[in-house]
Amino acid sequence: MTDFPILALLAGMMVAATPILLAGIGEMVVEKAGVLNLGVEGMMIIGAICGFAVAYETQSVTLGYIGAALGGAMLAMVFGVLTQFLMTNQVATGLALTLTGLGFAALIGQPYIGIKGITVGDVPLGPLRDLPVLGPVLFQHDAMVYVAIFIVACVWYVLRYTRTGLVLRAIGENHHAAHALGYKVIATRLTAIAFGGACAGLGGAYLSLVRVPQWTEGMTAGAGWIALALVVFASWRAWGVLVGAYLFGGLTALQLFLQAAGAAIPIEYLSMAPYIITIVVLVIMSSGRARASLSAPASLGQPFNAST
C-alpha cells in the first residue's frame, strides 16, 4: 500500500468527475422539467471546441468557459425549438443533436488539432492548499471543480426551496395541469433546456481546457451518455448526481492509474471498464422494483401542445 498514491487518486477523482458532473446536473434540470434531451454528447463536444477555441484566441480561460456555455446553450436551443414548438420526437431530436454536434465540432476544430491549449491555473486557496491530506485532495484544483459543486448546490436549493423550482418540478410532473393553472410550460422548458446546454458546454470545455488539455475529434468519447446515465443513477436528485459523478470519477482515475502502472490487464479492457460499470449501475438502479422509474418526472419525454 505504501506506493499506492491514494491522495493523487482522490485528487484525480475530482478532476475526472467534473465534466460529467456539470453535464449531468444540467441534464437533471432538463429532465425535471419533463424533457429528455439525449443530445448531451453533442452539446458537450460543441462546448469542448468552443471553449478551447475561444480560450486559445482570447488567451482567457474565463472567456473560453463563457464561449463553451453559449455554444452548448445555442445547440440546445435548436433542440428546444424543434421539440417545444414543432413537437418533434425528443429521442430522435436528441440523437440528431449528438450527430450534428459531433460533425460541427469536428468542422470548427480543424484549425485547432494538435495545438497546445493555454494553461489553467489552480485557485489560490492559500493555507488550505498546504493542509495535510485534505490540501492535495480538495484544495489544489482549478476553479471549475468548485464552480461545478456550487452549481449542484444552487440547483438543489432552487428545486427544493424556491417557487421557480416548484413550478419547474410541477411542469415536469404534469404539464397539462401546470398549463391549466396558468404556468408557461414551453417557456420554462426552453429555459431549462438552455441551462442544460450551457452546463453540458461547460463540461465539454473542462475536458478540452483542463482534463486533456487539447482538442481532438470525438474527445468526449461517450461522456455525454455517461452523464445521462448519471441522472438515472441519481434518481433525479442533485446530490445524487454529485455522488455518482465522484464515484465514476474515482473509477476512471483508478483505471488510468492501473494503465499507467502497467497492470497485467490489457489497456483496451481497462478502458472499456467505465462503460461496463455504467451499464451495471444502470441495471442495478432500474431493477430495484422500478425504483428509479418511480422518481422519474411523470411527463418525461412527452410532447406538449397547448392547443389540444
Partner: protein, 361 residues
Amino acid sequence: MLRLEPRAEPSRLMTALTPLIAVTATMIAGGILFWLLGKNPFEAIRIIFWDPIFDENLSSYARPQLLVKAAPLILIALGLSLGFRAGIWNIGAEGQFIMGAIFGAGVGLAFYPADSVFIFPLMIIAGAIGGFLWAMIPAILKTQFNTNEILVSLLLVYVAEFILASMSLGLLRNPEGAGFPGSRNLRSYESAHNAELITNTGIHWGVITAVFALVAIYVLLQRHMIGYQIRLAGQAARAARFSGVSPNWLIITCLGISGGIAGLAGMFEVSGPSGQISIDFNVGYGFTAIIVAFLGRLNPIGITLAGLLLALTYIGGELASFQLGLPSAAIQAFQGMLLFFLLATDVLINFRIRWRHGVAA
C-alpha cells in the same frame, strides 16, 4: 401569429413531400456553410450531388461505390426502422456492426488457409449471430431489469470499439503482418472474400442481402402480424398489450432483428470493401443509418432512397474534400443538418400551419 392546428388524419402528401423539402433546405443551409468555409457553394453542391453519378471521369469510380456504401446503410436502417416504429430505440447499431464483423471475420480467419465454399456462408451466419448477441444485451437487460435500452445499446458501442482494438492488436492480428495492427486481408483469401459479383457495379453479397431485406421488411410491415404488432406498439403501447402483444417479446424481436442485420452488414463490410479487421475499419455506418431510417420515414422504400442519398454524400464528400479541400467533418455536419430539417418539417404531416388573426384581448 402563427399557430399549429392538428390534422384529423396525417397528411399522406406531406409524408412524401417533407423529405424532399428537408433535402432542399439542407442543400441551401449546406451551401451557406460551404460559403462560410470559403468554398464556392454551387460548385461544392455540384461535386457532392451531381459529379459522382454524372461526371464522365468520376462516375466510373463513384457509381459502384454508391452501392458499396449504400448497402450497409440500407441494411442497418431497415433493421433499426422496426424498433423505431415500435418505440424501441436501438442506437447501438455501430456496436452490433463491429461485433458482426469480428464474429464473421473470426470464423473466416479460423479456417485460413482452407478452401471451401462453406466458409463464406458460415461467416454470414456468424456475422448475424455476432450482431444478434450484442443486441441481446440491451434487450435482456430491458426485459429483465427494465434498464433503458438507449443508454445500454449506445454504451456498448464504446465497449465494442475497445474489443475491436483488442482483436486487431491481439487475437486476430495478422501473424505475417510484421507486427502492424490489423488482421489478414480477407480480400486475398478467396473462400472468405465478399467479392464484387458483377465487375464495376459495386454489387456484392451485401447489396443482394439489402435487396432481400428490403422486400422481406416491406412484406413484414404491410402484410404480416409481426409488422402490424410493431406498428401498433409504437402508436399505442396500451392498445398493443390489449391486443395481446407481449412487450418483452417485441423488445427481443426488434432488437434481435436489427442487431442481426447490423451484424450482417458488418460482416459484409469487413470481408469485402474494408477487407480486414483493423482498429478503425468501421466508419460510422451504424450512426448514419439512424439518419437514413428517419429520412426514409421508417418506410422500407424510403429507407432505400435515403440510403442511396446518404451514400452519395459520403462519396461526394470525399470528392469535395479531394477537389476543394472541404474538411470531411463538413459532410458529417451536413448529414446531421439533414436530420434536423427532416424532424422540423415532420410537423407538417400532423399539423396544419395557420395564421391566426389577432384577437382583441
